[in-house]
């Protein structure tokens, strides 16, 4: 924004005007950023604030119209943690079920995913592309569309009301993503590493265990976080397959709350918050690795 003129006064006038225009534009764009930021914060926070607000209400005080708790009380959290309401009597059992399920899904997804991608990507097994296509196909089928036949089959196998039926479903739907990410990440590791180990007499399992897995550590963390969050977010399969109070997980118990007339909303929201803590903590702890994982392989919501 400079004007070439012979007259120095004109030039300085022009440059002052230009500077003012730049200032004005900067000011406007900063105001714009501020407005967008405030809107984004409100948009993001309102449902979460609502959760916290209601969980802090003392019992029976849910039906009111304040925008912040008049008398904040941690009573509902205490009730959840001590199973102090008839609805919450199996809370810890259900929480443990959720953890067990999430942990198993994570371990098995990592194990099956890494073994498969090692065989396809590093050992280059013949017809490996067929396996990749199976994975790709699974990845693009909505899991909820298979829920009804899956339920029927689990009934036939006698696995209804068994956590392992849910684990099997979630592993089947999480492993394709793992295979993509591992194959993609594995391309950055030179194949010569494997070959020299092979010449030194290492068996394929030793190469997998001693060389492949350690080098894949970042991808393992990313996919592990993803699998855990997937299991934690899932509802439909748990809802259909788990029906007794001692076998169900926290989401199923929460959904039961929703369907009853006398829902104790403060307990529900406290339960929802306690249930949200592990994934949020894990997400923020492994955030960088996860974002790297997203850009490495496929996408899964």
């Amino acid at each position: 924004m400079s004007t070439i003129t012979a007259d120095p006064r004109l030039a300085s006038l022009a440059s002052t005007q230009a500077r003012r225009a730049v200032h004005r534009r900067q000011y406007l764009s900063q105001a714009g950023v501020l407005v967008v930021s405030v809107l984004l914060v409100i948009w993001t926070i309102v449902p979460i604030y609502n959760m916290v607000l209601i969980s802090l209400e003392p019992e029976g005080d849910v039906f009111n119209s304040h925008l912040w708790p008049k008398v904040p009380s941690l009573e509902s959290f205490w009730s959840v943690l001590t199973e102090g309401h008839w609805y919450l009597e199996h809370f810890w059992r259900q929480f443990a079920n959720s953890f067990y399920m999430g942990g198993m899904v994570t371990i098995l997804t990592l194990l099956f995913g890494s073994l498969t991608s090692f065989s396809i990507g590093r050992m280059r097994i013949r017809h490996g592309w067929l396996v990749s296509n199976c994975a790709l196909l699974t990845y693009v089928i909505p899991a909820s569309f298979l829920a009804i036949p899956f339920y029927r089959i689990m009934q036939n196998y006698g696995l209804a009301n068994n956590l392992w039926s849910v684990i099997a479903a979630l592993v089947a739907f999480a492993t394709p993503y793992a295979i993509f990410v591992f194959q993609e990440y594995g391309r950055s590791i030179p194949i010569e590493v494997d070959e020299s180990a092979r010449i030194d007499g290492a068996s394929p399992f030793q190469i997998y265990r001693r060389i492949y897995l350690p080098l894949m550590a970042p991808a393992l963390v990313a996919v592990g976080t993803y699998a855990l969050l997937l299991a934690w977010n899932e509802f439909l399969y748990q809802f259909l397959l788990l029906s007794t109070k001692s076998s169900m997980t926290v989401p199923v118990a929460l959904a039961q709350f929703l369907n009853s007339d006398q829902s104790p909303w403060n307990y529900m929201m406290a339960t929802a918050i306690v249930y949200s803590v592990p994934p949020v903590a894990i997400y923020y702890a492994f955030r960088r690795r996860m974002t790297a994982g997203l850009t490495m392989g496929g996408v899964k919501g």
């Binding site: 984004l40 449902p47 569309f145 036949p149 997203l294 850009t295 996408v299």
Partner: protein, 303 residues
Amino acid sequence: MDSASVAISRPAPWRDSLSRSLRGGLKGGEYTWAVAFVVPYLAVFVTFVAYPVVYGLWMGSDPSLYPQLFADPVYQDTVVNTVLYLALGVNVKMFLALLLSGFFMRPGWWMKTLLLLFVLPWAVPQISAFISIHWMLNGEWGFLNNALYSLFHIEGPFWLNERWSALGAVIVSHIWKWTPFWTLILLAGRMAIPLEIRDTARVDGATGVRGFVHITFPLLANLYLISTLLSTIFLLGDFNAVYFVSGGGPADSTHVLATIGIRDAFDLAQPRLGVAAVMSALPLVIPLVIVLMRKLRTTEVQI
């Protein structure tokens, strides 16, 4: 992946036997290992994906199910809802994500902090978030109407008691939950554009809208397309937003295909009808799957 190119790049084996070439150049013991490594996943795939798919196709193969399904007025509403949910949910979300990913490219600590907060809806479990939204929209005691009344003295409507506002609530909830995820994806795509390209473009005068139209978007277009297609599939299978926010109500008027199948199968105890409802999405799902599988396999774009 491509066995032909592998065979060329490897030194010729000293004894070229037929069985060996069949095994893709692996020695006997190694071949056994390679197969053993693939078997666990293949077993999972066959038992828990392929078998349910075939079983489902068999359950929904009776042609007499479909006239019954199409005659159900709830199903007719469901189709309209699903189309609206797809059209608005996917496009509004992806467009917002595209704009916001540009917004978050700005430098500074404030943007980084804001991004951390903005990603929260994605990290919070769906169940917790959607239950909270359900209660927030309660006409009498919900936070939204309380806030409207306290701040603007407006009596808010009973959001979930009327079909279109309930469906709107479901769509907005979906957008709330998933925009952060796609923003991160598109942000990563923008970050991957080499700095030199952006700098050269800026020197050439392609800034602001022009820079976006001529430089950024053409480079992002493939990623945006794949994201949109994937998001369409994910949204088609989305059960939780409808189930928890509106519950399909009022009077079964806000179901989508993912929830109507479950309702038919378990509330009405007609599993075959439920499968038929899901199968009626196949004319949309199959082309999507074919295009997506091609795109994901052939393009260099890694989301």
